[in-house]
Symmetry: C2
Subunit: 319 residues, 2 copies
């Protein structure tokens, strides 16, 4: 089931549109040029996670491409409409063939079963026009992603082509923006799957670890026992041309409060192989433990599982 | 005026769709991820230029992203329908306010006034589906582009971030494919316009000249006089991760037949500044002489004009 709510200044709660009926002009620059920005959010038990961080990043992405987008309050109201409509439709179909089935993979990660995904999308609208096209989509989370929270993923390191220092020198590359131009991200995922892996960690031309095509990279070290135990969580530094991860940000705040040490890259591939655990973290799939990178196991299954459980507890506490 | 013809296996001539009515599902991966490929073609006096080269490149782009697209004969029939419909509508509106006006800039470049642009677009369709969405759009050529054939353009050199050797090592970057993920190309053009220029020539991280965001780069040297005159036309080598230009290819064939020497890069920025003339060449705007790069004049106005006229004669002879 997919629910669509288009933003419309004349209808502050948004305009619900049948997802089976065409809603976009074929001349929309979102469709003809990938010219727009987006966000993906998780909704758990009817509560939208990190909505402020996502709305702020949507605005920041739009600013990077000189795109004016609707104000946050219109997004919030359309999101609320989409969540209400989706959950209302779902309640009407419980027990029917179209209802999502409970998924054991959701248990124990703090998210539970009652999940849906919101996508916020805004394009530059039609060529020559001045009105962006903006909508919210509510749909079920992909089952594969939920399963990977538990099973973990095998990852390939792939060169992203860019030098880690280029983002600030070349704003036209839109490296900190989450644009609709995702063809390379999808191609990298297809390449990984064609080569026996599940996901990708991009590296820079100068050998730095960057991010996944749809996720941020985390690594952890744990040393010692009991009260002297040191736990350190590290992510690549933001100025290397990566997207600021809203989930990484929320988890870092929670981990700090729980006594973890935090670090921001530079991270090199050798650091990943030396880590006790590595994860890909994103808003919808949440924390996916990395079992192997380029075929080499990261840490041990037991340590990965224990650290993942610890971080999932922290994620469950974040909003 | 815009004419849309959707490809539809059950209607071999294509399905004409009102461009003012939504025709795309909001869940189409063209709109949500820039996941598709496209081509832009020029039609002069009802005749489609270089249709075989464009259809071949559309297929090659699609192959690079594992995208199955409709066969060439369906594209050809939809293109013919779009041209006929557009010209028919135009004939019905001649003399009305919506008819395009004659453009003096078209005179003398071998193209004439009776021009229209075809865009071929194909996306991966909706998530989870197996049917691509494919359509042909016919519309008027942008007036600015036609004027630039005569007035020329000022250009900025901008770093594309990639090393010129990465294309073969990293097929997931889709460097030889013309994908719908054009946000960076459009951002580079906006950056140029915000900095007093009209267009962009991308350079590689290792200092090579690559291409424009929507064009190929050409440079020329002319030496001597009369029968001993040597004219040399150079373009960056294709394996530097650039799109193979259909117009560059056609012009090179015509120039060779007319006695020009041809060369394929590596080209460095210094080569551009040393040239007698530099052009951006593309299918719709055709040949746009470059007046200045980063504020420095290229050759002299007289030589640029003479060489441009010579090459325009050759373009007029190509199909």
């Amino acid at each position: 089931m997919t629910v669509l709510v288009f933003l419309d200044p004349s209808l502050p709660a948004g305009r619900i549109v049948d997802a089976a009926v065409p809603a976009l002009l074929a001349t929309d620059q979102g469709a003809t040029r990938g010219d727009g920005v987006f966000e993906s959010l998780l909704v758990v038990g009817g509560k939208i996670r990190k909505s402020q961080a996502h709305l702020d990043r949507l605005e920041s992405s739009a600013r990077a491409m000189d795109l004016r987008i609707p104000p946050q309050d219109l997004w919030r109201r359309a999101m609320a409409t989409a969540v209400t409509e989706f959950r209302g439709n779902l309640a009407g179909t419980v027990g029917s063939a179209s209802a999502p089935t409970g998924n054991a993979a959701g248990v124990g990660n703090g998210a539970g079963d009652d999940e849906l995904v919101l996508k916020l999308i805004v394009t530059r609208g039609v060529e020559g026009g001045t009105t962006p096209t903006a909508w919210v989509q509510a749909s079920e989370p992909p089952a594969a992603g939920r399963a990977q929270r538990e099973t973990g993923v095998d990852v390939l390191l792939l060169d992203r082509g860019y030098d880690s220092s280029i983002a600030e020198r070349a704003p036209w590359l839109l490296l900190g923006a989450k644009t609709l131009s995702y063809a390379v991200n999808m191609a990298a995922l297809r390449y990984a799957r064609a080569h026996g892996a599940d996901d990708v960690i991009f590296t820079s031309g100068d050998g730095r670890v960057l991010e996944g095509p749809t996720s941020s990279v985390l690594l952890a070290h744990a040393e010692g026992e009991g009260p002297d135990r040191i736990r350190r969580l590290i992510t690549p530094q933001l100025d290397s041309g990566i997207l600021p991860g809203t989930s990484q940000g929320a988890l870092f705040a929670a981990a700090k409060a729980a006594g973890w040490e935090l670090g921001y890259g530079p991270v090199e591939p050798a650091d990943l192989f030396d880590a006790d655990a590595v994860w890909l973290i994103s808003s919808v799939r949440l924390l996916a433990p990395v079992n192997r990178i380029d075929g080499r196991e990261i840490g041990t299954a037991g340590v990965r599982r224990a650290l993942t459980a610890e971080l999932n507890e922290l994620i469950a506490r974040t909003q």
